[in-house]
Symmetry: none
Subunit: 351 residues, 2 copies
DNA sequence: CGGCGGTTTGACTCCCGTCAACCAATGTGG
DNA sequence: CCACATTGGTTGACGGGAGTCAAACCGCCG
């Protein structure tokens, strides 16, 4: 049932009006001033508010102001019911966002008509917005339909040399990649030409799926860190698969969710961690990704520049930090490689 | 740009008024009577209609009647602009569903205020309705599943005050959240207690799905930026849905993929951008997320501290940067709010 | 031998984080 | 009702971390 909040300080008018409205089969909540009205509004969430202007404690303008500031209440139709007949008062009320302005004395019919008119209007508004949304959904659906016809079997294998590019930022994705051997990194470049390595991939990883799933262009560049072997899966095949195979969809959902978490963690690191800690993290994440087996100590062959781009710094700064680490016996480092000596201390590195 | 239809038979008033509105940067269509007005309305689909009452051929009431009968046009705000100052005329106009009633003579300010007030109101309506529709769709989907019996009671709605916590890092997720009104942010804290805001959410967004999908604990904390209303969807319901409903799975895959892209972009920013640029980006991302409509300028009420956490810096540094921006006339800022004056320059900010 | 790419070190600068103080507004408790 | 505490915003002074530019070094190959 439609619920109406009536805010009016004069007891007689309030009770009379409430009675009329109840006879018209509305559910009524009442309040005798703006402050009380706001409290009742919060609690009851009426479908419409009728409100006097001149009231003690908090007047009608004040109440309307509060209502408009509240995200939950601001879309409720608001009608002023007042003895203030001056043009200035009327304009002020309307400009503040009231939906109607009824001057006393008024007839029952006027009041009821005004209410119905506003309720009607509110209903139309919400219908309208909802139907726009429906149309979008509809087109969304069509897009996925006719992929079914074009099923072509394509499982190509490619060999890549070191530092070779697989795809570049801005390209349109045509395929999903599966790294069967080697190492891949993806990176972005900012306006000043500085590189940041975003992700590392190892044998057995899929990559390049993000642009496909988001249905957009690549947002990063992928290149090999060393010689690699890559399987290419056609876009259509992948789409059919993910749309029709529950398991595949679940796998990618989980993968994506994990990616998001990882990136969030990286964000926090880059934002506030010292260079020392960022370099330590970079080394550890390489270790985590590429270390062959649990017990053994880890050595990676990587250029200073590449390592710097993982830590988000410059080559020179990275080198200084590596020197520090070397002096502290945390790592062993010579041109072209880094070997982790004390993983625990790296892990506990303070900022 | 906002388009306004002005229907008025008096040439002088029409042209004068149109001129005022054009100066206020609205796009204007005109008509000199109700019939013509209806034709123009159909063709132009204005964002707002201003209309005289007494006109030849078809009067203002007639036009409003036609507009209300037309499904495409009926939700357009409608303002009468008339010499008819009688209470009866006013009531008739409002009862027919007009949104405001301005009597001649009127001042420019009155007219412009009335227009802005109604446009604002219309925006709120559609936002609100669209977000409600989203959730309804979602539950429509749920209903079709065979787990019907379990989830009848699962649509819980919660009210949160400003700065209240929804979930905390490390908690186990029990539900999916849907923000039906208000604003939410998620953030992480590093060992030194520094906060970084990871994501912002607006009415109509889902949040908290990442931990569910990854099948792990929350990796970030979520709290309200202002008073909010949140729908809670039980974990089981969500899991059934996403595992069995192709459309829902696709929706979340796309959402996740987009999240990843966003985070990657943020990574690059945090890694190498100057404080100036990061602050500019923070302001712009707020604008992008919370700006109501295209043309209007954007004001956000946010504490310095919160803004600093979005930019990944300290409150003091943020304040200095804001002062610089203010001196450069890029923004207007006083305690508790920031207003964007020159979006383009903020966007083109160099490092 | 000279050039070249990658690495390392040095010197300098400056951005920005830290600490401290102050102000204004708001709330609070006696 | 006022003194007082508290909170958020702002400004100033200071210093260190890390980026920039330059130069030296080193191994390698033709």
């Amino acid at each position: 049932m439609t619920k109406i909040l009536l805010v009016e300080d004069n007891d007689e008018i309030r009770e009379n009006t409430a009675e009329i409205l109840e006879m018209a089969n509305y559910q009524i909540a009442t309040a005798s001033n703006g402050k009380e009205g706001y409290e009742v509004a919060l609690k009851e969430e009426p479908d419409l508010i009728i409100c006097d202007i001149m009231m003690p404690v908090l007047d009608g303008y004040g109440l309307l102001h509060l209502i408009n500031k509240n995200n939950i209440l601001k879309s409720i139709p608001f009608i002023f019911l007042t003895a203030k007949t001056e043009r200035g008062d009327f304009r002020k009320g309307m400009e503040m966002g009231a939906d109607d302005y009824i001057t006393k004395p008024f007839t029952d019919i006027e009041l009821l008509n005004a209410i119905e008119s506003r309720l009607q209007k509110a209903r139309i508004q919400s219908e309208r917005a909802a139907s726009a949304k429906n149309l979008d959904d509809f087109f969304e659906e069509i897009k996925n339909e006719d992929a079914l016809e074009k099923l072509t079997d394509s499982k190509i294998m490619n060999r890549y040399k070191k530092k070779q590019r697989v795809y570049a930022e801005g390209n349109h994705p045509h395929s999903l990649y599966y790294l069967s051997a080697g190492k891949i990194r993806t990176y972005k470049i900012n306006e000043l030409g500085k590189e940041l390595t975003i992700s590392l991939f190892n044998a057995g990883d899929f990559f390049g799926y993000n642009a496909l799933l988001e249905n957009s262009v690549y947002k990063e560049t992928a290149e090999t860190l060393e010689e690699s072997e890559i399987n290419v899966i056609g876009r259509e095949d992948f789409e059919i698969l993910i749309n029709n195979n529950k398991k595949v969809a679940q796998k990618f959902i989980k993968l994506l969710a994990h990616n998001v978490s990882e990136k969030e963690e990286q964000l926090l690191n880059l934002a506030y961690n010292s260079l020392r800690k960022r370099v330590a993290d970079a080394i550890l994440s390489l270790s985590k990704k590429y270390k062959k087996e649990e017990s053994a100590d880890f050595t990676i062959h990587i250029s200073r520049e590449d390592l710097a781009h993982i830590a988000g710094t410059t080559t020179e700064s990275l080198i200084r930090t590596l020197s520090d680490f070397r002096n502290e016996k945390l790592i062993e480092a010579e041109a072209g490689y880094v070997k982790v000596l004390n993983e625990k201390k790296l892990l506990d590195m303070l900022n």
